[in-house]
Subunit: 511 residues, 2 copies
């Protein structure tokens, strides 16, 4: 039987006892954070090895320069403006799922694990969910079979009066809280969470291999997200400081996971993809922030530094070693690609933005498709081929900037990294990302090259806008009452807290 | 017999018929221009392969952020402030050898080929010499046996009245001039010079192999120096535009040269080093300028973008494949390393700044040594370990900057990329290049880390300054009469021009 059903084969193992599995690594890291992508301290031997054995994507994008919307896009294959992971509280404002958010992933969305489940997959998420923390948004209600991790970011510590510490779940119930039961030392940066997440991954893989069940593992760790942390054995080991320590621990973990797959003899049956949910947060640099290599700005922006991501596909025996692809890729493609590997069809009742990358990965094809750069409710920029047109520019407001909040530290391109929202709808700013990957030299409006490229891109925009049906925005309303006061399982632990009265209001999204 | 005399063995081949040879590639390219260093279009498969088979240096420096002084430093193993390749016409001004320069490499300097000659080497320079073009500075008077290339930059075309076109030499005599006999089409960027230089290299290597003579080949090409050029077959083939076309042609040439060594069976007897004489000239970006990856600014500055260079050592069978070194290295080390390979001692009557890198390359050792960043006559900055202290900062003057001359386009770090020369002697600006490779976040003066690091670096500076004997500055005087009016051999070609009367004056160095 054809082994093409590699990743997401239906039901039980094939006659050949092929185990068909998939793993996605997702974390907050910049394009320039890996040795294979030119990080000058070159401290990621395992990821570099993964790249050498697999395929490196140099033009791979997230769907949004912020965590929650990107993750929602990955799991639904749809832009945040469709799946509801955006806000209309302000123009072009980024929004995510802090613990006072009321919204989350709508039931109407079909998530990758829900679809894979029908094909017999056991799905596990390890790490940060970030698609809403109220009961109806729980990952096990959206296709995952297992979960170990947290619903929100590991911010804290909180005082349990104004704000409870974020819970950590095992499956349906919480098993403790960050800073209380799962320590993060903000002074030293020590926390053993990555080790816990690693062990979870290894155990899950072993279990699936033993039971010969195909699996989908979504390893969504967050050690490189501020507050950055690393285990004791990695603290102080990097040239890059605490952030580098965290990267090294993740690199080590990836090596151990890939090695585990090989030891168990299932590496040729496991499609693994490594990428990030947004660019490095330069606002946290250098202590807690990574590198976007030669690209402009970082997280929160629709410049390349905010949305171009490191990406590696690994599947020994199928993907030729050492491959390099210039395919314009998106995290949303992982949705479509996984379905394709499973022999499943994507849902036909809705627009799917992801494309099937298998022809790219297995046959080296290049598929012509645009990349849309959204910030909240606004289409800020579009890339087609090597051209990128900005229809709106801004980094953040003067007000924020004057307080020292800087998404582009050390970088300033006049008229480009603007601190007011500037519209360029009628004369978009155009860059050639081959000659000018750093978006520093807008093409002359008068040039023929400009006119040809903009004409093409504007056609794509028109088509996109004409067919766009925005989803109900999920990230508009906040309410202290919905915070993690009494998550399921809190009673057993004596960790239930009293919620304040409900007082829903518009969330404030400053940038 | 021990094969340790690999590179520069004395006299004729050993009993084992070992041919001991060396090649240095030197060109104007930025740290971030190679795929192996994270260039996002990854168009250098041959150089990346060279790195995979050899050792990648991530912390390798040139001796000056400008061409002539760097090349003089490489060939003498000495800082430009010692060998005379600097100016005292203005404080901290860069200077080089345009065709009206009066000075050049002093006879008192001992060049690498002069020393190797004594050990039986045949030495050839292909490409740009740049150590002075008046008769006494001719490369064949300084140890080279053969030359094909030009004494100065390929600027032009000139009108032969105000300024003659730069000659191209074969050995002692000119064989034509740029733009006249060696075409460079400034409109299309077409020129077949790299192909000529490639063929010269292949022929020279073949000849040396046939005669079993050890050789030193210095392949100092200049296609990536503005005006950037490429051969017809490479024009339009790069994502990166003309600059990328030139890089691709160089990459292809390097591949052909390494392949030739392998075909001839002498790759294991040939130590090859690839590096650059200064960072990418961002002032020429994006059309004619490369990338310095994550580093600050470019050519002309003493920020990392101006002086940290791509560097690869290749020596199959000796250097373990895939090695990566964090050794602080310098182009001046190529002088000392080559002598060491030849079993020769460096001259003992003068200060040599280069160190022998063999323990690093062959045994993976790390040698503690500082890097001094000079701009003209001023020590601007010093690196020790991961710390870099700036004693002076400036990019260029406000006057130049206001005319659009920008060495840091899109980059601006307050108080760092200054447009006045700012002295920090008593409180140097300190950066940790591991956590902050982009030199964007100066350490707090009050921190213990600052005090410890600056104390150490200041000790190194004191020691360096106390023993420094500056050479007679060679780049102070310019005179139209010394231009390439009638280079040797011009009579045979009918290409002699009449020189104007001598009118020496101080050269003007704007930055």
């Amino acid at each position: 039987m054809c082994n093409f059903l590699f990743l997401l084969a239906l039901g039980v193992p094939q006659a050949s006892e092929t185990l068909t599995s998939s793993g996605v690594f997702l974390l907050q890291m910049g394009w320039g954070d890996l040795g294979a992508f030119g990080e000058p301290s070159k401290e990621t031997p395992n990821l570099d090895q993964m790249a050498a054995e697999g395929m490196l994507f140099l033009d791979f994008y997230t769907a949004n320069p912020l965590c929650s919307p990107s993750r929602a896009a990955l799991l639904t294959g749809r832009l945040p403006v469709r799946n509801g992971f955006y806000t209309t509280n302000g123009h072009a404002r980024n929004a995510y799922t802090p613990q006072d958010i009321v919204g989350g992933i709508p039931d109407s969305e079909l998530l990758l694990p829900e679809l894979l489940k029908k094909a017999g997959y056991i799905n596990k998420i390890i790490g940060k969910w970030h698609l809403g923390h109220r009961p109806q948004f729980h990952p096990l209600k959206h296709g995952f079979d297992e979960w170990f991790g947290s619903p929100n970011c590991h911010f804290g510590p909180y005082d349990s009066r104004e704000r409870p510490n974020i819970p950590v779940y095992r499956d349906w119930e919480m098993v403790g809280r960050y800073y209380e039961d799962f320590k993060i030392d903000l002074k030293t940066g020590e926390a053993n969470l990555t080790q816990l997440y690693l062990q979870e991954a290894l155990d899950f893989i072993s279990k699936q291999q033993a039971s010969q069940q195909p699996f989908f593992l979504y390893w969504a760790i967050d050690a490189t997200h501020a507050p950055v942390y690393a285990s004791k054995q990695f603290l102080g080991t990097s040239q890059r400081g605490l952030y580098g320590d965290a990267v090294r621990e993740i690199d080590d973990s990836v090596g151990k996971i890939l090695n585990h797959l090989q030891q168990l003899g299932i590496s040729e049956n496991t499609f693994v993809f490594f990428t990030s949910d947004n660019g490095a947060a330069l606002i946290s640099a250098p202590k807690q922030g990574g590198s976007n290599g030669p690209f402009l700005c970082g997280k929160q922006t629709t410049f390349e530094g905010g949305m171009r991501e490191p990406a590696i596909a690994w599947w020994p025996g199928h993907i030729p070693a050492g491959g390099v692809s210039h395919q314009l890729g998106s995290v949303m493609d992982l949705f479509s690609t996984s379905l394709s590997l499973a022999g499943l069809q994507p849902p036909s009742d809705r627009q799917i933005d992801g494309i099937d990358l298998l022809p790219v990965i297995l046959q080296g094809k290049l598929i012509d498709r645009p990349i849309f750069y959204y910030r909240g409710n606004e289409l800020m920029a579009v890339r087609a081929g090597l051209y990128k047109a900005h229809y709106w520019t801004w980094s953040n407001s003067w007000e924020e900037h004057s307080k020292g909040i800087d998404f582009c530290p050390g970088q300033s391109v006049s008229g480009v990294t603007t601190h007011t929202q500037e519209e360029h709808t009628y004369l978009p700013l155009l860059f050639h990302l081959g000659r000018d990957p750093g978006e520093k030299f807008p093409l002359s409006f008068a040039s023929e090259e400009y006119q040809q490229a903009v004409e093409r891109i504007s056609g794509l925009v028109q088509q996109h806008r004409a067919t766009l049906v925005p989803g109900q925005p999920q990230l508009n309303v906040c309410d202290q009452a919905v915070m993690n006061w009494s998550p399921p399982g809190c009673e057993k632990l004596g960790k239930c807290l009293k919620a304040p009265e409900s007082d829903p209001k518009k969330c404030s999204w400053p940038h």
